[in-house]
Symmetry: C2
Subunit: 327 residues, 2 copies
């Protein structure tokens, strides 16, 4: 690979992206972390997200819904209540206004569902061939309730790791739509706003860390967490929730659901008894299939999978995501 | 023109853009105005801007500098003190990392100058041919000092209209660079952060309204103001500050500097004696050539130019900007 130019992997959200951000941006800017969110004054939190998903419309959502839920989730996993969104659109000349209206409808529908207001925007148009239809950048602002604190620095050995349902569904829906695999019924993206789920998690008083598992999948979140918390993580293959469709597509294409992007799934780390936490998660619309998938430990360094036959397999941070333009 | 598809004019920031935003976005979202800025909780203000300028590097700046100063200015003309910036980058595969570093340097240099911190970001990469090198969306957050209020609703007949220097310089620099006119010396963009100027204006206690005159130029700002305030505006041709280069290029290409984009110029409306206000503006680095160019009146409706021979000529809101991809 040519080290002097940008590759698709630099946009994968995985190791390549982290190194690029670290060397080009974080070394120059005042970014406290490599993340897309940061604290403002007082208890305000901000997060920004560029959406370049292809195709623009897919089973379970479209770029409009995704642009709202993606940013809502970035704010929500900070433990904050998302309140305001701005949207900047870069539109290709010749884009159908009917599609733009459909996307705007979808944005507002999701904003209503998530309890956020879209309060400002910017519209730019570029010549034919200079954008793939439409890109949307959303920025969200939310407020941390008094007393709420989460983060990798709070994670301890013995804590449990949970996810709120089946993994890899977004990526599989996009693969099916993009590659015209014509699976029947078409697999749906899990694209959803998670603010009710994160609020329920926080209300239990047991949550130490939350992160949405988008580009790079659950493995990328776990590796970042393991690195930041300087603790090991072991997850159980048998406990991982995966739909039969996702299993089949992954088997066919040689993919692993742990590495695939989700748009309505988060990884949560909680302390103490997990039963009341799982119950609380399952009360919410996006948490019905919540399960414990593993635990934090000091017995290993890095992230490991305990396979169904009982052996441990290292799950490395991926260099790149197998699918560009996934969100 | 086909009314069902997006045209370059929809991104011009002029009448076409306003109608599109009004019909597609404002009708659905909770946008208080058609602007790119809005109020958050407390005294916080947010603004978002997509930057798609072509070429990426130009005399007087580059897309990095512009992405910071453009957003700083949107916040500053609200009367607020810009504090934080987020940046989302959409990069074309194959983009030279050296150029990205140069642009990041430029962003940080301008951020330091403007007193803002770049605190979070997102990086996406699209395939070759799917973005024209690089697009940058910046979102800024600032805070309104206690007691500061500005806006078109405060503008009264008899108020004076000021600009902080020569108009049209940004557009002329871009035309020269893009069309390879090879003017010597190459005209420079006025691209600059105006937070010192807006602070000086506010400190006078006489400012009623401020707006940066970007896409669509001074005429677009004045028409929006006239419409919102329901008052007429008359500006004096003889008082308009225009460089000889801008005059020459405009003469050659049949353009009018009043309609050209600026990136370091604002329109301010002030009440009372203008002398102390102009003096205060001239003390700042970006206000040295500040002048009164006209006044608010109820003698006319809309915006008029008093020509050098004394007649009045209507200056209509432009449908579109003559130059796409100007910012």
């Amino acid at each position: 690979m040519n080290n002097n130019i940008i590759t698709l992997g630099h946009g994968s959200g995985c190791a390549l992206t982290r190194r690029l951000i670290d060397s080009v941006f974080r070394s120059r800017f005042q970014m406290p972390t490599l993340d897309d969110s940061a604290a403002l004054r007082g208890r305000a939190v901000i997060s920004t997200d560029a959406h370049v998903i292809k195709p623009l419309f897919f089973p379970g959502g479209d770029i409009g819904k995704l642009s709202i839920s993606g940013t809502v989730n970035d704010i929500a996993v900070c433990g904050a209540v998302p309140e305001f969104i701005t949207a900047a659109l870069i539109i290709e000349e010749g884009f159908p206004i009917a599609d733009l209206e459909r996307i705007a409808d979808s944005m507002q529908k999701e904003a209503t569902k998530a309890g956020v207001k879209i309060i400002a925007g910017d519209t730019k148009v570029v010549e034919r061939g200079q954008a793939d239809g439409l890109y949307i950048v959303t920025t969200g602002v939310g407020y941390l309730p008094e007393g709420v604190e989460t983060g990798s620095h709070l994670v301890c050995k013995g804590d449990s790791i949970l996810v709120n349902g089946t993994i890899g569904d977004h990526a599989v829906a996009i693969i099916n739509a993009r590659e015209e695999m014509e699976l029947e019924p078409a697999p749906e993206s899990d694209c959803a706003s998670l603010q009710n789920l994160t609020a329920a998690l926080i209300a239990t008083g047991h949550v130490r860390f939350m992160r949405d598992a988008t580009r790079g999948g659950v493995v990328t979140v776990l590796n970042e967490l393991s690195e930041d918390a300087k603790l090991g993580i072991i997850i159980d293959e048998e406990k991982l929730p995966v739909t039969s469709t996702t299993k089949a597509v992954c088997g066919l294409l040689g993919l692993d659901p742990l590495y695939l992007a989700n748009e309505g799934k988060l990884v949560a780390v909680v302390n103490g008894n997990t039963k009341p936490v799982v119950n609380a998660m399952r009360q919410t619309d996006t948490g019905r299939n919540s399960v414990v998938i593993g635990r934090v430990t000091d017995e290993v360094q890095g992230v490991y999978l305990r396979t169904s036959i009982g052996s441990l397999r290292r799950l490395f941070m991926p260099e790149s995501d197998p699918l560009p333009r996934i969100c």
